[in-house]
């Protein structure tokens, strides 16, 4: 599945870029249904781009149908990102703790100037590929439950992106008020 979504934050692109790159843990604290975002690693090799590794753990409200089948590991992942300063682009991929090799999720986030320089437009796009189909459970309810889990996970990623941008706006607004 491909996804693309756009958001705008009313602060200049340079400010938003740095906030996203360096203060993700703080932002995570302001997002509903995110248990935590924790920085695992931050490296830069020579003049190359910065690479960050954040661990996510979320706790979203789930449809009754799949609630009993969701294991905590299904709702945590590592978000590994490369930050290219020269064109304000971030390339990322997700490593799921539970689905590991079964799910391939990657994409990029573009940070562009908006609102005549007063804002930053973030375009978040990527794709999720389920290798051999998702098989979270087996048995009688296998089909509908696996489909439902797949949908929840697919919706969660762009949804979280909007929550993150809103939290970033609030964080910046609080500091600039």
């Amino acid at each position: 599945m491909n996804f693309k979504t756009v958001s705008i934050i009313k602060y200049p692109v340079e400010v938003v870029w740095v906030t996203f790159r360096d203060r993700f843990e703080e932002i995570g604290e302001r997002v509903d249904n995110v248990a935590y975002i924790r920085e695992v690693d931050r490296t830069r090799s020579g003049d190359g781009p910065l690479q960050t590794n954040y661990e996510w753990k979320v706790d979203p409200p789930l449809p009754a149908l799949i609630k009993g089948y969701i294991k905590p590991e299904m709702l945590s992942w590592n978000d590994i990102a490369l930050w290219r300063e020269e064109d304000f682009q971030c390339h990322w991929h997700i490593v799921s703790h539970y689905f590991k090799d079964k799910m391939n999720c990657q994409g990029e986030t573009h940070f562009q100037s908006a609102m005549g320089g007063r804002g930053c437009r973030l375009t978040f796009q990527g794709d999720i590929v389920w290798k051999e189909g998702l098989s979270a459970i087996a048995g009688f309810m296998e089909g509908p439950v696996n489909r439902a889990i797949e949908q929840v996970l697919e919706n969660m990623i762009p949804k979280n992106f909007h929550k993150i941008t809103q939290a970033t706006s609030l964080l910046l607004a609080a500091e600039n008020s």
């Binding site: 693309k4 979504t5 756009v6 958001s7 705008i8 009313k10 908006a114 609102m115 005549g116 320089g117 007063r118 804002g119 437009r121 949908q151 919706n155 762009p158 949804k159 909007h162």
Partner: protein, 708 residues
């Protein structure tokens, strides 16, 4: 500025920018602007210009909103003449409840406003839901929600830059419709289409904050049955402009081939303000060829459905064509329903099956609402929402002598009925010119002085039973600051109440009134001057509070003639005089005995009004869950859409349908799981419906007990 009322139509200019320049020149826009500037003794740079574009965008490059490129070109043209103090703005609307990225600045950026024009002129975009102030006290404001954005109120020149498009309920949505965006509330469907009346609000807004120019971007237009919802582009290559807002829309509607009065918004403005005298029309007025207006079935059925604010809100959410890359749904479930329903109903002009399905769904939903309202009117009045209105007519058009003449008209009628023998219910009444003239009299065992102290005579009409809202506006006071003349608009439940089952309309009457204060009595005399919905031919009368040995005597005399629903016009009760007399007498006795109870309630400090107030701040913060249980409505719409999909002919849906016709012409119906799903869903809906209704009432009236 409107010494020369003109409407100009520019068709087939080589470019939209060239068309706009031509339009402004022919409209004498620059001369008028300069005349204003000189009169105000301001330099061009000090003239505050506000442009209100239509920003009803749900997709990029959509013909549902004013082209940002044209707006920016107008800014450049203004800047060339040193008018550099320009603001653009719109307010938040319902979509902010269900879509992301609806903040005005964000929306503007996404749909193409650059904040700096091609020629490098910077401009500001403002949110008209913010920076609210009270309007100037110089003008008589009767708007219930008085506060508007300072940016709008304080502008020297207001330019309304609308889009040329159709509207599924109003027929068309042009300049006047665009002005609803000047009002600040986010939950517009509740506040401006239910709690208050959009047509009245817009007309009043025009009077209080004149719009100096209306421009209509008809370069690319959106036509068809759902002009605000679905993209159906028509390259009309036209620009329309006027220095009179009503005239601009009137011409644009004619170009669509529409009767300009089909839009309630425009019809109201036309009735209240009319077209300017001696206006000029310039340009090609030939209607656009093959322009599609919404069919009457669609308009009527949508109007029927939209009577309920939640249905209006929810169907907007689920039927709107949205580019979800840019405006993602806040809730996944809404996105799913939207995906399903828009795929079914986005071609209603092309597919008869979709068309009738859509019309049927609208009527079905509207009838559910009507059933609920009928039940409440008869058995559960406290759950009816009271309405706030503007006065709806200009009391200044009545002279002092008109007010003073009212007692002279009523008192002879009172004399006639006083000498009429009472009927079996003790009510004195008779017919005059098809109206009912009656007198009701009762003595309340309450000391007169205490009674008039707590039950103001000026509110005696407003407190009558079954009043569900309206507006009172004092006009003249005596030395003791008591009201002598006032104008009043009253909304009453249909009378008698059971008429609601036959489509009886609420009674909506505008009145002028005179009050007299004596030593032993106080009297209010009223005369009807207008009925906005044509529900009444006569509603004139008087109420007298008089001193009496046993307390306070209340006398009500009235002459009334309310329009009957079609059914009762056909039946014509005049052929059954005894039955009719009994019904009339019982209805009035019941009505006035309950009115007495309202007066007693006021005296005792209890609320003398029927119904509940809608919270004035409903929907202003957060993302409220929706009244009437959106979950239940979602199931209902999902069920309907699913059923439509199943029975839709395979050639339309592209899938194997519920009904398949074989080569011999026999119809084969699919069975099994599908039926069970439908039955299960239907059962679920019925079970949940009562709970949903309770939730509806609880949300709007803030009564937590309803949320069980």
């Amino acid at each position: 500025m409107k010494e020369n009322p003109t409407a100009v139509v520019i068709s087939n200019a080589p470019t939209p920018e060239g068309g706009l320049e031509d339009l402004l020149n022919q409209l004498a826009f620059w001369e008028q602007l300069d005349a204003f500037r000189q009169k105000a003794d301001k330099a061009p740079a000090d003239v505050r210009v506000f442009i209100k574009p239509d920003m009803e965008f749900y997709e990029l490059d959509s013909p549902t909103g004013t082209d940002p490129g044209l707006v920016e070109h107008l800014i450049d043209l203004l800047a060339e003449r040193k008018y550099i103090n320009v603001l653009i703005g719109d307010s938040l609307d319902d979509a902010d409840h269900w879509l992301e990225n609806r903040d005005i600045l964000i929306l503007a950026d996404l749909v193409g406003y650059q904040f700096t024009t091609k020629k490098g002129n910077d401009y500001e975009i403002v949110n008209l839901s913010e920076n609210l102030i009270d309007p100037s006290a110089e003008k008589e404001w009767t708007l219930p929600d008085r506060r508007l954005s300072a940016d709008w109120l304080e502008a020297d020149i207001r330019i309304n830059f609308a889009k040329n498009k159709t509207h599924e309920e109003y027929g068309y949505a042009l300049g006047l419709y665009n002005l609803i965006g000047v009002f600040p509330k986010r939950a517009k469907s509740y506040h401006y289409f239910h709690r208050l009346s959009a047509p009245s609000l817009i007309t009043e807004l025009l009077s209080l904050t004149p719009v100096h120019f209306t421009l209509i971007d008809a370069w690319t237009s959106n036509h068809g049955s759902q002009g605000i919802r679905h993209r159906k582009v028509y390259d009309t290559r036209t620009l329309i402009g006027s220095n009179d807002a009503v005239l601009a829309d009137w011409v644009a509607a004619l170009k669509m081939g529409a009767d300009p009065s089909i839009s309630p918004v425009n019809n109201h403005a036309l009735k209240q303000r009319g077209l300017p005298a001696h206006y000029q029309l310039r340009g090609d007025l030939v209607p656009y060829e093959q322009w599609q207006l919404p069919a009457t079935h669609v308009r009527n059925s949508v109007a029927h459905r939209n009577q309920h604010p939640t249905l209006r809100h929810i169907t907007e959410m689920w039927l709107q064509q949205v580019d979800t890359d840019f405006f993602p749904f806040k809730r996944v479930a809404d996105a799913k329903v939207n995906q399903l329903t828009t795929s079914l109903f986005n071609q209603i002009d092309e597919q008869p099956f979709s068309y009738w399905g859509y019309v049927g769904l609208n009527y079905f939903l509207g009838n559910l609402h009507q059933l609920l309202e009928s039940w409440r009117t008869l058995y559960d009045k406290d759950r009816i929402f009271r309405r706030e209105t503007v006065l709806g007519f200009d009391p200044a058009t009545f002279r002092r002598a008109d007010f003073d003449a009212i007692p002279g008209y009523i008192e002879p009628l009172a004399q006639i009925v006083r000498f009429t023998p009472p009927d079996r219910n003790g009510l004195k009444w008779r017919y005059i010119d098809e109206s009912v003239l009656f007198e009701y009299r009762k003595i309340l065992p309450i000391p007169y002085e205490a009674f008039i102290d707590r039950v103001p005579i000026a509110e005696a009409v407003f407190m009558m039973y079954d009043n569900i809202g309206g507006k009172r506006q004092p006009i003249r006071y005596d030395r003791r600051k008591r009201i002598l003349h006032q104008a009043e608009r009253d909304l009453y439940l249909p009378q008698p109440n059971w008429m609601v089952f036959f489509g009886g309309k609420p009674i909506d009457v505008g009145k002028i009134e005179t009050i007299r204060y004596g030593k032993d009595s106080q009297e209010i005399f009223w005369r009807m001057v207008e009925s906005a919905n044509q529900s009444a031919r006569y509603d004139d009368g008087m109420v007298r509070f008089g001193r009496h040995d046993q307390g306070t005597e209340i006398v009500i005399v009235a002459r009334q003639h309310f329009e009957l629903p079609l059914f009762w016009k056909v039946v014509n009760m005049d052929f059954f005089p005894q039955v009719k007399d009994a019904l009339v007498s019982d209805a009035y006795v019941q009505f006035f005995s309950r009115t007495m109870a309202q007066y007693e309630a006021a005296y005792e400090g209890r609320s003398p009004y029927v119904g509940s107030d809608i919270k004035p701040d409903y929907g202003e913060s957060g993302d409220p869950d929706f009244p009437m249980g959106a979950e239940q409505m979602r199931k209902l719409l999902g069920l309907f859409a699913r059923a439509m999909q199943l029975i839709q002919p395979a050639e339309n849906s592209g899938k194997q349908g519920f009904v398949r016709t074989d080569e011999a012409g026999y119809h084969h119906f699919k069975s099994g799981q599908t039926d069970q799903e439908l039955t299960h869903s239907a059962r679920e809906i019925i079970r949940d419906f009562y709970r949903a209704m309770r939730k509806d009432w609880a949300y709007l009236s803030n009564d937590q007990s309803g949320q069980q």
